[in-house]
């Protein structure tokens, strides 16, 4: 639990920090400081066990089936890193308290910082590789937020996104790599993976895993060719840079390599990939650092170079090289954090970080200058400072790589040494010379506690440099033992090893570096150079931007070509899918014995010719003559009804006929409110349009033929056993009705009917809701053009007047008389439904037609004055009735919608079958009536509203559907 709290407490602290008020700088700092101190105390208390070589584990079950548990595992390496993260974290918190200005929203800063700290601790303490990836990505996310802390600045946003994109890409690779590794080993548990080194290296997928994991580590540690993000991340506040980009996050990459060293290293691939990237980085970083003008830029490139150095050592991979790598990780963290903080102080005090302006600062900032010079010397590898020790170890390892014949590695090492001395001198130079007079601010020594972290770190540099064996020795030993285990070499931490080749190399580097700097400064005018010589062409950041730009414009291009927001292409694709049908059916019909062909009936054929003509003509007219098209489509519907009748399906025919009538009339009523479509003057059709239309035509015809083929295949297919026999047999005996279709609808599959009636009701409610907002087009609000002539009696009469006393009087009397008759007919069809063609659906439509006719005749106002139409009630009552009828079965302990037929003998009427399905059908009837009427009312009320439209509601015009 104690272990768990190490990770948990920073995240909780992060949440608390986010909730504090914006100006609570002190409270935030106390909170963050408290969290880190807690962590330090906990971690320090583990030292006795760690020093004894124990591995502490804490398992929480998480995803056991996938072999994923939440495992915290502390060995020496993890412990050292934990201490590093927490100790430097503490100093950074202290520093940040003074660095952040009162106008910065500090809760966000400390919240992100603590979250980052938790993530980083998660990375180092993970005992499970997948869990490590989780925290790894979390460090990417939190660092994204931290770099973009001043997100009103463009460079901060750009730098954050660049860093995030690169490290997140690496994170995805790492995730894949870990999965491959897990596949090879059969477990994600770190202990198991570390023990399976030989198996991993012998596996076919070794190279895949290695490359993917290396990509993750190298992007995180800003190694060539991914190093470009680090300098841009310097847009972050300096405490962030000194924490993330020197001591911790960038170290995560090398930490991972050290962590997995037992499992992955020891092959030429390892050395070439890791070492190769390291060497390139080391030289490029060191060289580029010399030519920076920004203090933080110089430090960033120097960090890249030092990380390269560590990577090279890991790439070399011998036990001694690993010792040097771990040692240098610690040393670099110490001096680089202090240098960043010093740079921050300078920036804070002078208002600039430009080394072309800064000079002579030792006069104004004597203490800071001294500290920075010592740290800078450590960076350059001056003897008696910690940087010297690990650099010398590096030199001696570099010598061993090529043995006696091949000196390239040693040459690279010395070159790097020379460069690093040169850039360190460049850094130190700002403290010397005459005091600058053109600084934005007059510098003063910073507050006592702002300098304190720097002092402490510089002191550490000195102590480690002078008495390494006593100071850092035990700690390093713990980490080394945990990493190397049995292969831990003998090594000797001392500033003086006698006169040997590494010392010579150090001397060459120091002397050469000074000379190189002087030459550059005096002959090449260092201050005037705006770019790094030789390597400026390989601008990673530029390449990144270009890639991103290309990616975005490529995506837009792709979407323009592959995407569409128009309906027509979408339908085209769906119809094309139909074209595949005949291919699937190829060869089918030959396998069946064709059913005997019946004689062709010329009359029936003629009916169908008419139907086809109607359909094609309807499509033809659809564009400019809606009324004609609608009538023609109605014709097709009638033909369909006739066909049903012809083929002895009276129920279907009746339903089709009624549906056709009602929908056509409703659509006609709707057409009234659409704006007229101006016919295009087709002078000359461009060939493009012609092609386009031909294509559509061809696809349409082919799609139709495909459907015809499909239908034909089904029709000649010999009948198979279907469930329909069951229905035919049981309709009367168990369903209580001799009309199978109706029994099917209200009994066998009444649930489908319930669903479909619901669909109807939803349609009605939607139409109603939509039309409430609909405002007709201005040109269709007045009297229709057909009635516009003053001779037409309709032009100066309301619809009611026309029907009651006008030219429609005769028709009006007849049509009103129709209402009771149609009502009776509806009842008749409803009653006989169970045994003969009819039923609730048809009856509902018939009744609706009766009402519809009244609306058409005398207008909405008159009808509603004389008849209370309550479509909502009909509709809701119908649905509720249908459902409750179904529920009634529960009373008799039967499932929903079970029917029961009561046989009663009534005087006068005789024997009666009273199936409960009858009540269900009544619900259907009511819902159908309600649906039709609701749509009708919604349409009809347009006429009521349209007359008051132009003046009041013109601004609403934009809401009109187009």
């Amino acid at each position: 639990m104690l272990l768990f709290s190490l990770i948990f407490v920073p995240f909780v602290g992060s949440l608390v920090a986010a909730l504090l008020p914006a100006d609570a700088r002190n409270r935030e700092a106390w909170l963050a400081g408290g969290v880190t101190v807690y962590g330090l105390v906990v971690a320090a208390s583990l030292y006795p066990e760690i020093a004894a070589g124990e591995i502490l584990r804490h398992d929480l079950p998480w995803l056991p089936a996938q072999g994923l548990d939440f495992v915290l595992r502390v060995d020496g390496l993890a412990w050292v890193f934990t201490m590093l993260v927490l100790a430097i974290g503490f100093l950074v918190v202290l520093y940040a308290r003074y660095y952040m200005s009162p106008s910065d929203p500090v809760p966000r800063f400390f919240s992100f910082l603590l979250a980052f700290m938790g993530s980083m601790l998660g990375v180092v303490l993970s005992g499970n590789l997948v869990q490590l990836v989780v925290f790894w990505e979390l460090t990417s996310l939190t660092s994204f937020l931290l770099i973009a802390y001043w997100h009103h600045r463009a460079d901060a946003r750009r730098g954050a996104r660049m860093a995030f994109t690169v490290t997140a890409t690496g994170g995805l690779c790492l995730m894949a790599g870990v999965l491959v590794l897990g596949h090879i080993v059969g477990s994600y548990d770190l202990d198991v993976v570390l023990a399976a080194g030989d198996r991993i290296r012998a596996h076919d997928l070794y190279l895949v895993a290695l490359v993917l994991i290396a990509l993750g580590a190298l992007t995180k540690s800003a190694q060539f060719p991914f190093h470009f993000w680090l300098p841009h991340a310097m847009a972050a506040p300096t405490p962030v840079s000194s924490y993330l980009h020197s001591a911790t996050m960038v170290k995560a990459g090398v930490f991972l390599l050290v962590r997995l060293w037992p499992a992955l290293s020891g092959t030429p691939e390892w050395s070439w990939i890791i070492g190769g990237a390291g060497v390139c980085t080391l030289l490029i970083g060191a060289f580029a650092a010399i030519f920076q003008h920004d203090l933080k830029g110089l430090l960033a490139y120097s960090t890249i170079s030092h990380l390269g150095l560590i990577t090279v050592l890991i790439g070399i991979g011998t036990p001694l090289a690993m010792v040097a790598a771990i040692f240098h990780i610690l040393n670099h963290a110490t001096f680089k954090a202090s240098l960043f903080m010093a740079a921050g102080i300078i920036d804070h005090e002078t208002g600039t970080r430009d080394m072309r302006v800064l000079r002579g600062l030792r006069h104004k900032l004597p203490i800071t200058a001294t500290l920075a010079i010592v740290a800078g010397a450590a960076m350059a590898g001056v003897p008696l400072l910690n940087g010297f020790l690990s650099k010398e170890m590096f030199f001696s390892e570099a010598l061993l790589v090529g043995s006696d014949r091949n000196w390239w590695m040693s040459a690279a090492a010395v070159a790097m040494g020379i460069f690093s001395v040169a850039y360190s001198l460049r850094f130190i130079a700002i403290f010397f010379g005459p005091p600058a007079t053109d600084l934005p601010r007059v510098p003063h020594e910073p507050p006592r506690w702002m300098r304190f972290p720097v002092e402490l770190l510089v002191l550490a540099c000195l102590v480690v440099g002078v008495v390494p064996a006593i100071s850092i020795g035990p700690i390093l030993d713990v980490a080394v033992h945990a990493t190397l285990g049995a292969s831990t070499p003998q090594y000797d931490l001392a500033p003086w090893h006698g006169f040997n080749l590494p010392l010579l190399m150090s001397v060459i580097a120091l002397v050469g570096g000074v000379l190189f700097y002087v030459v550059l400064r005096n002959r090449f005018d260092l201050h005037a150079r705006t770019r790094t010589p030789l390597i400026y062409r390989f601008n990673g950041a530029q390449a990144y931007e270009t890639v991103m730009l290309r990616l975005t414009s490529g995506a837009e291009w792709l979407l323009r070509w592959l995407g569409t927001s128009r309906l027509q292409p979408q339908l085209l694709i769906m119809i094309i899918a139909m074209l595949g049908v005949p291919l699937l059916l190829a060869g089918v019909p030959t396998q069946w014995t064709t059913i005997p062909r019946q004689g062709t009936d010329p009359l029936f054929a003629l009916v169908w010719v008419i139907g086809c003509v109607c359909a094609v003509a309807g499509a033809w007219m659809a564009k400019y003559h809606r009324l004609a098209a609608l009538s023609l489509i109605g014709g097709t519907g009638i033909i369909t009804a006739i066909t049903f009748l012809w083929l002895s399906a009276p129920d279907l025919a009746l339903t089709q006929l009624m549906v056709e009538t009602v929908t056509t009339v409703l659509i006609l009523l709707g057409l009234r409110w659409l704006p007229p479509r101006i016919e295009a003057k087709e002078l000359e059709t461009p060939s493009g349009v012609w092609l386009h239309r031909s294509r559509d035509m061809a696809v349409a015809v082919a799609g139709g033929l495909a459907m015809a083929a499909l239908t034909y295949a089904v029709l000649i297919h010999p009948a198979s056993d279907t469930i329909s026999d069951f229905f035919l047999l049981r309709a009367l005996s168990e369903g209580g009705g001799s009309n199978v279709v109706n029994v099917l609808l209200v009994d066998f599959r009444s649930f489908d009917t319930l669903g479909e009636v619901t669909v109807l009701s939803i349609v009605a409610l939607t139409v109603y809701a939509l039309l409430r907002r609909f405002r007709p087009a201005p040109e269709s609000t007045g009297v229709p053009a057909q009635q516009g002539h003053s001779l037409d009696p309709a032009s100066h009469q309301t619809p009611a007047e026309q029907a009651n006393s006008g030219y429609l009087m005769v028709a009006g009397i007849y049509l009103r008389l129709l209402l009771p008759f149609l009502g009776v007919i509806a009842v008749y069809f409803f009653m006989r439904g169970h045994n003969l063609p009819g039923g609730g659906f048809v009856a509902g439509l018939i009744f609706a037609v009766a009402i519809l006719v009244q609306y058409m005749l005398a207008g909405a106002v008159w009808v509603e004055n004389h008849l209370r139409v309550r479509p909502h009630r009909w509709l809701a009552f119908g649905l509720v009735l249908a459902c409750t009828t179904g529920l009634g079965a529960w009373l008799f302990e039967y499932p929903f919608l079970t029917t029961h037929t009561a046989h009663v003998t009534l005087p006068l009427l005789g024997d009666l079958h009273l199936p409960s399905a009858f009540v269900f059908d009544l619900g259907v009837f009511a819902a159908v009536v309600g649906t039709t009427m609701l749509i009708l009312v919604a349409l009809a009320h347009q006429s009521v509203r349209a007359h008051r439209l132009p003046s009041e509601e013109a601004p609403q015009d934009s809401r009109r559907p187009s």
Partner: protein, 505 residues
């Protein structure tokens, strides 16, 4: 006697007309009833999950007609899971809508309940004609919800949506007809039994029907090349409706899983696993196209819509392998992506409402109210959408990568999924940076006419905590999903429960 199965359909079917009838003019009452109904659905879903938990498959014979003659509802782990997901989403989205969206048009709560009825019905039915009916219910209700509130773009996109899906419905009918003409049944379990015995001469017809059906489900699931309707629809629908729609694409995915494991699984002889070869390439292209769309989008709503397409691709890649391991991963991803997408749509709605005059466009605009909080939740939702840790998207992606490891195309799938994630990460980072960060550099602030409603923030918080829940309790959740996947691949249990069952009172 066990009537639980019908209730998730019956309850909204009764509440919806009641609201339309008696509470048309009383928004408060309508809200109370609607919310009570949604909460009751959640309770029901929990009960049903409890029933299905031990692996029993329960069937319910409607009208007491024995299968395959009557319609049957079937509850197994998969349908219980989907019901639960729907109910959770329904409650949260309803809470959000009560914040004001429901007043902007007529009949919101009725349509909402009808929508739930349709979705629940689709998840419960064991009859594929009845599935068609519920597809209609949910389609029409969703159209009603989508054009709720109106506006030119909304209605225009709605027309597209409804026409594309109506064409899909016609194809559905054709496919049902074809399958019926060959096997003579409408019951899924019965179909599963009969498919193996179809004579070779009839197979072509059956395959045609099955593939047309796949096309229909693909339309619902927004799979390439029939995904075009989705961006316009989701981006133009009211925010909460778009959030609810996050589960609608899953209806398509569910139908694919159900149909092609039950009827065209191992028991189908030569026709076994016929969906896979079509599904896999389509899903891979869908994934990439969706994520490319994320990168190319110029508005937040559009971006989230494309992310939904991408997530459907990811989901169906895993489904298309038709192995228990990949299926379990797919189901986890299904849960995650629904919650993530819903939260994203709600957040985008909150943002767009506050950016008066700028809406959801990915462009610099002056500051707006609650910007910091919204930036924070957008960041979290984006983490979820892109599958970054620590939210459940990461686990979902991991499980899928792990689950497809043994597939023939494993390398391609891995590469596509990882590339897709990267594109999404870049896209969301860019959008968030522009909308929330770059806008900070502008002077002035936007005044919004709408008051902030606590409920909306609560809803967003609930969805995001849902993804946290999925992460923390990944172990138990995946254990349930593993069992679900196993059940999916043991269709005999399902068939036995449906056909071997005679109602006994």
């Amino acid at each position: 006697m066990n009537h639980w199965l019908i209730l998730p359909i019956l309850l909204p079917a009764l509440v919806a007309p009641l609201i339309a009838l008696t509470m048309r003019y009383d928004i408060v009452l309508a809200r109370i009833f609607s919310l009570a109904s949604a909460a009751a659905l959640l309770a029901l879903a929990l009960i049903l999950t409890g029933i299905a938990h031990d692996g029993t498959v329960t069937s319910y014979l409607l009208g007491n007609w024995a299968a395959p003659f009557g319609i049957v509802l079937v509850l197994d782990r998969l349908s219980a899971l989907m019901l639960l997901l729907t109910a959770v989403l329904a409650v949260v989205v309803l809470l959000y809508s009560i914040g004001g969206w429901d007043k902007r048009g007529r009949h919101f709560h009725s349509l909402y309940q009808f929508q739930l009825m349709g979705i629940n019905g689709a998840f419960l039915t064991g009859d594929f004609f009845n599935l068609f009916v519920f597809f209609e219910v949910l389609l029409i209700a969703s159209y009603g919800l989508m054009v709720h509130g109106g506006g030119r773009d909304c209605v225009r996109a709605g027309v597209q949506y409804v026409i594309v899906n109506l064409v899909g419905s016609s194809v559905f009918l054709i496919a049902v007809g074809l399958i019926y003409s060959v096997v003579g049944t409408l019951n899924m379990a019965d179909l599963a039994v009969k498919v193996a015995d179809v004579p070779p001469g009839d197979r072509a017809l059956l395959v045609t029907g099955a593939l047309l059906l796949l096309l229909v489900f693909a339309i619902k699931a927004a799979l390439v090349p029939v995904q075009f309707w989705l961006p316009g629809t989701y981006a133009n629908a009211p925010g909460p409706v778009a959030a609810l729609f996050a589960v609608m694409t899953k209806v398509g995915a569910y139908s694919i899983i159900r149909m092609y494991t039950l009827a065209f699984g191992d028991g189908a002889g030569d026709l076994a696993w016929l969906a896979g070869p079509w599904l896999m390439p389509a899903a891979l292209v869908t994934l990439l196209l969706g994520m490319v769309g994320v990168l190319a989008s110029r508005a937040l709503g559009q971006m989230a819509s494309f992310a939904v397409i991408g997530s459907m691709g990811t989901l169906l890649v895993a489904v298309s392998l038709f192995t228990p391991m990949a299926m379990s991963a797919a189901l986890y991803y299904l849960l995650h992506s629904t919650l993530a997408a819903a939260s994203m749509f709600l957040i985008i709605d909150l943002v767009s409402e506050r950016r008066t005059g700028f809406g959801g466009n990915i462009e610099v605009a002056p500051r707006f109210a609650q910007m910091g909080f919204l930036a924070c939740v957008f960041f979290l939702a984006a983490i979820a959408m892109t599958g970054m840790p620590p939210l459940s998207g990461f686990i979902g992606k991991l499980l899928i990568l792990d689950g497809v490891r043994d597939a023939d195309w494993a390398y391609v799938i891995w590469a596509v999924i990882l590339l897709g994630s990267l594109l999404a990460i870049v896209g969301f980072a860019r959008a968030g940076s522009t909308v929330f960060w770059k806008s900070r550099s502008m002077e002035g602030a936007l005044k919004s006419s709408r008051r902030p409603v606590v409920l909306s923030f609560v809803a967003v918080g609930m969805l995001l905590s849902g993804t946290v829940f999925l992460t923390v309790f990944a172990g138990p959740v995946t254990a349930y999903l593993d069992k679900t996947a196993l059940q999916i691949f043991t269709p005999s249990v399902y068939v036995e429960a449906v056909l071997g069952h005679v109602w006994d009172k």
